[in-house]
């Protein structure tokens, strides 16, 4: 069994663990309902709202088209995490201060907590789930593992989405605050990378390792 599979806690495993423990401790079945994919996305959530308070929005997430009814106040982050159960994108501050919710919209990275879902009709959205999966890692995800570019893992999806886009932005010639020469191609120096990654806070302090991971992927692409 691969390492990835070994640590993939799927619902079946959870139930096996739960059942085994329940049997050994004589616990009855729970009173609250088992979660099912249908029950989690509650279609009647918005029933109490006036029509003026909600919108229907269509967008593409990780290559798949979705049509969603949303509360107009719902951020893109909460639409992903709560209504679509794409919880790889994290909520660290909900105020655009930490970068844990970084995703790309139409090829540009944004803080998904700072924008409303209803504003994204027709947009192409890519989240961490769209980059790679445990048994099919994106090179940046693999590099983060190789260089231990994380500890608690909570800022990690945002760091990885930002890291990938950082290299793209440098390649596209988009200058940053530390770019010295605006007339030619931009060199992906350590400080150029650090500056562009500075919107993604890692309180575990894995910055040195994240830089190593990004430089590794940069080298692979060169």
């Amino acid at each position: 069994m691969s390492k990835e599979k070994m640590f993939e806690i799927n619902r079946r495993d959870l139930m096996i663990v739960g059942a085994a423990t329940a049997a050994s401790t004589g616990l009855p079945a729970t009173a609250y309902a088992e979660a099912t994919p249908e029950a989690v996305v509650k279609p009647d959530d918005l029933a109490s709202l006036d029509d003026t308070l909600k919108s229907t929005v269509s967008f593409t997430v990780n290559g798949e088209k979705h049509e969603l009814s949303v509360d107009n106040r719902t951020t893109l982050l909460d639409a992903l995490r709560e209504r679509m159960q794409l919880t790889g994108t994290k909520k660290g501050c909900d105020h655009g201060q930490c970068g844990a919710c970084t995703i790309t919209v139409n090829g540009r990275r944004i803080n998904s907590c700072l924008t409303l879902a209803a504003l994204h009709d027709g947009d192409e959205i890519v989240t961490i789930e769209g980059l790679g999966q445990p048994d099919n890692l994106h090179p940046m995800q693999a590099a983060f593992i190789e260089h231990d570019g994380y500890q608690c893992g909570y800022c990690t999806p945002g760091q990885i989405c930002s890291a990938k886009e950082t290299l793209e932005e440098i390649k596209a010639g988009i200058p940053s605050n530390v770019t010295k020469d605006l007339s030619g191609p931009i060199e992906a120096t350590d400080d150029e990378i650090r500056e562009r990654m500075s919107g993604n806070i890692c309180r575990c302090g894995a910055y040195s390792n994240i830089l190593a991971a990004i430089n590794d992927v940069k080298g692979q692409n060169a």
Binding site: K3, M6, G88, Q97, L137, D148, Q151, Y154, M197, Y207
Partner: protein, 730 residues
């Protein structure tokens, strides 16, 4: 199993997996966003409602009334819970500030209401409709400099005669340092999902100490611990902020009880800074006396720090009790009872802030003596515990840390005089500081089992807060049972599993690996019995048991598709603390640059050398240390929760106002681990390292700034406003 005497030379002498650079086993989940954190457990219970918590708008006083009618009538709102609907909830031994219930407000942003609704948006909108009427208490204390301590403190250390020795000393320094309140600011906010089943409640939460959390929640909900289950397999950082039961868990449990449905609550980021705990402010007074040639003869370290009435404060003199040799030592910590939020443990409580003062004061002494600060520290290395000369250090390689670091860093080529080394408009400076952190161990239990497929499973209520517990526990079991790490599955954070040390005080890694070691020994004995062999004759390797020429595959040991399992707990004997001081040591070296016009401080390079016994995994241990160095850089240069002395709260209570280091703030970091074992510490001869890394960093930075500019900032953090205007003229 008991650990009653130092581990013999033969115990884990030649390891194959422990101590090796194994990549994090939870990496594929964390890098793909598939590791499940507390608030995202959509899978555990259907029809979850959302609770939005509200914090008090005053720091002290009484909540007279809450108008709930508008909120109750708002779309989507299912229930409104206010603190006035409950009696003050009982507190566990681990909590100081009221969590919920009653009309008394003890600190700003104390939880006063929860609006439960169908969605986050409707809950938040409902919360905004609540109408609060407060009667603030003007008799309150929010300014540490104006608050007298309680006055009943006993010295932490009082050896020899400090006053006389200091008065007689030819060279003395007498300096005051302050450190501000700091916030843990872990990336994952406190969050819990609660669901009741009759009188039993389950919390999917984010907590470092599962057993404490379970006991505390039982106390607070007025039930028994057997009615509470806690599950916290992934934790988005803690640093001490998630050691204890907090309002998110209590409110989720109460909301779920009221509505009869699962309820989830996440503390909004701006509520965390005042609602939860913080590292307390300190006012430190250091006096050091020395001979002309640099031998320290007297040290006094006095501190005053804030706490809520009945709470504990930041014990800054803690490291001074054990760090430098002196026959005359006086250390005292005084608590000023105030009405700021609850001060409590943050990474290396006491040591981190104490060393910000002590290690800068040592630099001041070196300057006065015109001595190399590395040599001053080496000359005063303690051979016995200064607080109790009958005790020795289990292992102490502080001098080796300093020498190795000085060599590696190029200390001999350092800047000598402020202003001497320049790069353009930047002044370059070099600083050193010592690091000291105790290395406790706590009882820790685990279950280890052979699975029917020959794999191994480890179950314990231990937590992984980013520290690498999943990985080092897998390594421990792999080592003991002779299987590859990939064949070990580790299940953590569930209160139904054996009680572990939990994660805190840099005791987690050493204690929990010892617990898994104990369970593995128990399992090996069980296997020996099954095979009719003597335990000592068995060898575990290549997924099989070898004994006297016969080989049995592990999977053949299981019967009927069931696991072969053993449970044990490692208990640590008193010998560890009665005979020894078990501690970790280190040295930090910093090169900083200070802009000669603006006073801006940037870091060029950071080096840490650590003496922490066996390093269980150099990858995860190094990450702990660089992360702690980063947090120490924040403490030196950025982090301060500003106190509003009139209204009594931390003003900059979000991640924009409370600045922590970002990518561009952190330069190249190097970490060196001394290759040493400490057989007094645990059977694995390991000591914690996660808190050692933050100890001394800030002082090394302060010393580098002083070395560059000649400016000694004694009120942290060292922001440019404290430098500009004092810079040397060009």
């Amino acid at each position: 199993m008991r650990f009653d005497k130092p581990a013999g030379d033969s115990v884990l002498a030649d390891t194959k997996v422990i101590g090796k650079p194994v990549h994090r086993v939870d990496g594929p989940l964390k890098t793909t966003g598939t590791a499940p954190y507390a608030y995202e457990r959509h899978d555990v219970a259907a029809n979850q409602l959302v609770g939005w918590p509200v914090g008090a708008a005053i720091a002290k006083g009484k909540l007279k009334s809450v108008g709930t009618k508008k909120a109750e009538a708002a779309p989507g709102v299912v229930a409104v819970l206010t603190t006035l609907q409950f009696d003050r909830l009982p507190l566990s031994q681990w909590n100081t500030a009221n969590l919920f219930g009653g009309d008394q407000i003890e600190h700003y942003h104390q939880a006063v209401a929860l609006v439960v609704a169908e969605t986050l948006e409707t809950a938040r909108a409902g919360a905004a409709m609540l109408e609060f009427d407060y009667a603030p208490d003007t008799e309150a204390s929010f300014d540490l400099s104006k608050t007298a301590p309680t006055g009943d403190e006993q010295p932490l250390s009082d050896v020899g005669n400090f006053e006389k020795a200091y008065a007689d000393a030819p060279v003395t320094i007498d300096v005051n340092y302050t450190t501000p309140a700091e916030s843990h600011a872990m990336m994952e906010p406190h969050a819990s999902i609660a669901a009741w089943d009759g009188d039993e409640v389950t919390l999917w939460t984010s907590n470092q100490m599962i057993q404490w959390d379970k006991m505390a929640l039982a106390t607070t909900l007025k039930t028994t611990p057997d009615k509470v289950r806690i599950d916290s397999p992934y934790i988005g950082g803690g640093f001490g902020s998630k050691l204890f039961l907090r309002a998110d868990a209590v409110l989720a449990a109460l909301g779920a009880k009221r509505t009869g449905k699962p309820v989830k609550v996440q503390l909004p980021r701006p509520m965390i800074f005042n609602n939860t705990t913080h590292r307390g402010l300190t006012e430190q007074h250091l006096k050091i006396g020395a001979t002309q040639d640099g031998k320290i003869v007297a040290i006094s370290h006095e501190n005053k720090s804030n706490a809520l009435p009945g709470g504990s404060s930041e014990k800054a003199p803690a490291p001074t009790q054990h760090f430098y040799a002196t026959d005359n030592l006086y250390c005292i910590n005084r608590t000023a009872e105030m009405h700021l939020p609850e001060s409590n443990a943050m990474r290396a409580p006491g040591e981190a802030s104490g060393l910000m003062a002590l290690e800068a004061a040592m630099d001041e002494l070196a300057e006065k003596l015109d001595m190399d600060p590395v040599e001053l520290r080496i000359m005063n290395d303690a051979k016995v515990d200064p607080s109790n000369p009958n005790k020795t250090f289990s292992r102490r390689h502080f001098v080796e840390c300093l020498r190795t670091g000085a060599d590696r860093f190029g200390w001999s080529k350092r800047n000598r005089k402020p202003g001497d080394t320049r790069e353009g408009a930047w002044l370059i400076g070099h600083g050193v500081a010592g690091a000291y952190r105790g290395a406790p161990a706590q009882a820790s239990g685990a279950e280890v089992a052979i699975r029917p497929d020959g794999g191994v499973v480890v179950r314990t209520d231990m937590t992984d807060i980013g520290t690498g517990s999943y990985t080092i526990l897998a390594q421990t079991a792999a080592e003991m049972l002779g299987v590859p790490v990939e064949r070990v599955r580790v299940e953590l954070g569930d209160s139904r599993y054996p009680v572990s040390s939990g994660s805190g005080g840099q005791f987690g890694a050493v204690s929990s690996t010892a617990g898994v070691y104990a369970a593995c020994v128990a399992l090996r004995k069980k296997i020996a019995d099954e095979l009719g062999k003597k335990h000592d004759d068995l060898t575990f390797a290549d997924g099989a048991v070898h004994a006297g020429g016969s080989t049995t595959e592990l999977k053949k040991l299981t019967r009927g598709g069931r696991e072969l399992s053993a449970i044990d707990t490692m208990h640590f004997g008193d010998f560890r603390s009665e005979k020894y001081v078990v501690s970790t040591f280190g040295a930090h070296f910093i090169e900083a640059r200070v802009h000669s016009l603006t006073g801006e401080v940037r870091l060029n390079r950071m080096l840490a050398v650590c003496d922490a016994g066996r390093i269980l995994n150099p990858i995860t241990a190094r990450s702990q240390v660089i992360g702690a160095m980063t947090m120490g850089a924040g403490a030196a240069l950025l982090e301060e929760m500003a106190v509003d002395h009139d209204r009594g709260f931390f003003v900059n209570h979000d991640l924009a106002g409370y600045e922590v280091p970002v990518h561009l703030d952190i330069p190249h970091q190097e970490v060196v681990f001394l290759d040493v074992l400490d057989p007094v510490s645990t059977p694995l001869k390991a000591k914690g390292v996660g808190e050692l890394g933050i100890c001394g960093v800030a002082a090394a930075i302060a010393n580098a700034v002083n070395n560059a500019t000649g400016i000694r900032v004694r009120d942290y953090p060292i922001t440019l406003d404290k430098i500009v205007g004092k810079l040397p003229t060009i």
